[in-house]
Symmetry: C2
Amino acid sequence: MRIFVDAMGGDNAPQAPVEGAIEALRRFPQISIVLAGVLDAIEPLLTGADDVRDRIELVDAPEVITNEESPVMGVRRKTKSATVIGMLKLRDKEVDGFVSAGSTGAVLAGGMFRLGRIPGVERPALAPLMPNGKGYFLLIDCGANVDCQPHYLQQFGVMGDAYMRGVMGMEKPRIGLINIGAESEKGNALVKATYPLMEQAPYHFVGNVEARDITGDVADVLVTDGFAGNLILKFMEGLAGTLVDMLKKEMLADTRSKIGAVIAKPAFRRFKKLMDYTEVGGAPLLGVQGAVVKAHGSSNAHAMSCAIGQVIKMVDGHVVEIIEKGVAETVPQE
Amino acid sequence: MRIFVDAMGGDNAPQAPVEGAIEALRRFPQISIVLAGVLDAIEPLLTGADDVRDRIELVDAPEVITNEESPVMGVRRKTKSATVIGMLKLRDKEVDGFVSAGSTGAVLAGGMFRLGRIPGVERPALAPLMPNGKGYFLLIDCGANVDCQPHYLQQFGVMGDAYMRGVMGMEKPRIGLINIGAESEKGNALVKATYPLMEQAPYHFVGNVEARDITGDVADVLVTDGFAGNLILKFMEGLAGTLVDMLKKEMLADTRSKIGAVIAKPAFRRFKKLMDYTEVGGAPLLGVQGAVVKAHGSSNAHAMSCAIGQVIKMVDGHVVEIIEKGVAETVPQE
């Protein structure tokens, strides 16, 4: 299996992607990696990786699409960027999977316009796995589609179902619709129109899920539009930080609590690890014709190797094929 | 000052509203309370309140609008419900403020159709104060309007500004627009169209606020549509609970942490109190012609007395008048 890795993407590039690729090659003996980026920057980082060097193919990609530029224009003009080169290689089956911690917009635009959608898919969606204390749920969409139609959301269910079956090995994932009430008649115009479509879809729809139950392990896939999904994703990051800070402050406010906090350190460490979703990799881009994972922009080397592990599971789990089949079953036949 | 209290609203009615009213009468010597509900249920709860009994007026309100029925139909048909009676008394200036922990929909419908909107206000909005570790921010709207237009959101800013000036004594509250990116061109169709309207509005607009910064004390008023706002409100409740549970579980997983947790108990207690937003009361319904507070359905007596304290501050702070003036300045003159 060949995995394409964007060596120039993310806050810690090229170190984190290159070191993550090396770590992944050691963890997963069945893969080889195509590493694309500015060669002068990558090559020095390969010292000490002689054990896996023959499984690394370097590709010159001197251009980088930044977060500051228009993703669509970037993909159109920067044909020598890792994003564009990788998406074309994936389309042409020269590689089996794609990982980047670079601009989310560029990965989306590259996926849409260079790799291409699975036939029948209206809108590809970004779908990170998020912790709920007991395990993980898939949140789809988390920002690829800020203005949605009801049938997009119905399809997000198909794609999330495919991912959880293919990658997480679930037999019958529970698919929920994020809403402001549990009853079917609740919600804004979008979710009200989506509900009956999801009832008819070929997956295990468990109905509306209220926001207070998002982390309550009541569904394995939570479907929402990209605006609400992005709010939830980012709010979870922000709030977890705020709460931990607040607790820390209280812990340091009196001597007794300070002592307790020191003693309870192992628990805090485990808690932090539970909340650290870089362990599960990044957000798969579902609905495009290949296994694509967008790693978090702040990924370190270990997070990058986890994202590579995730894309391997997507290939092994035939996620693209399962989505293709599911969408064909769901799309009204003309 | 006369405050109307719905004695039948909420999960703990009539005990919590009645006992909360008694507590409020003791805390706030300047008020009297009109307590409406099923008299046979209320009267026994007044034993032991002889010290404030002469400041309580009982009103027979034998009907209750439940969470299960249509709020609009409930308000139309149940003319002997506390919600309807109270809204009419507020409209007719027989009371100065209104508090209920009952059906949110009924309070909204009663506010819209019995009390009435402030001239120029498009849509009244529910706006709870929420903790961010340093203080509180106002989230507007949190569920009254699930499908919004850009000028509704512009007005939510006016109303939130009025509340923070009148009740919280802020001179120049920072008004932010909740969005999925900080740049003005980010967002869905609604927020993109709202941004320029808020730039022109007569308040201190600080631009887009990303969800990860919601609890980061970057704005005093956070404007959003009722769907997103309700998600944020409920997610905050749910996530805080999940995180505390996760931490607790880790704390009990080994003996050392268990001991640490016992020692650090005072810190946990303070942390819990910080997160307990019942201390600040309920959610004001802004944009109607009177001071209305919707207390949390699960309010206990103390939370009810805080909600009564909040409505007193709304009256003293002339929130309705400030909104009226602000809206008149904002509405394009025909």
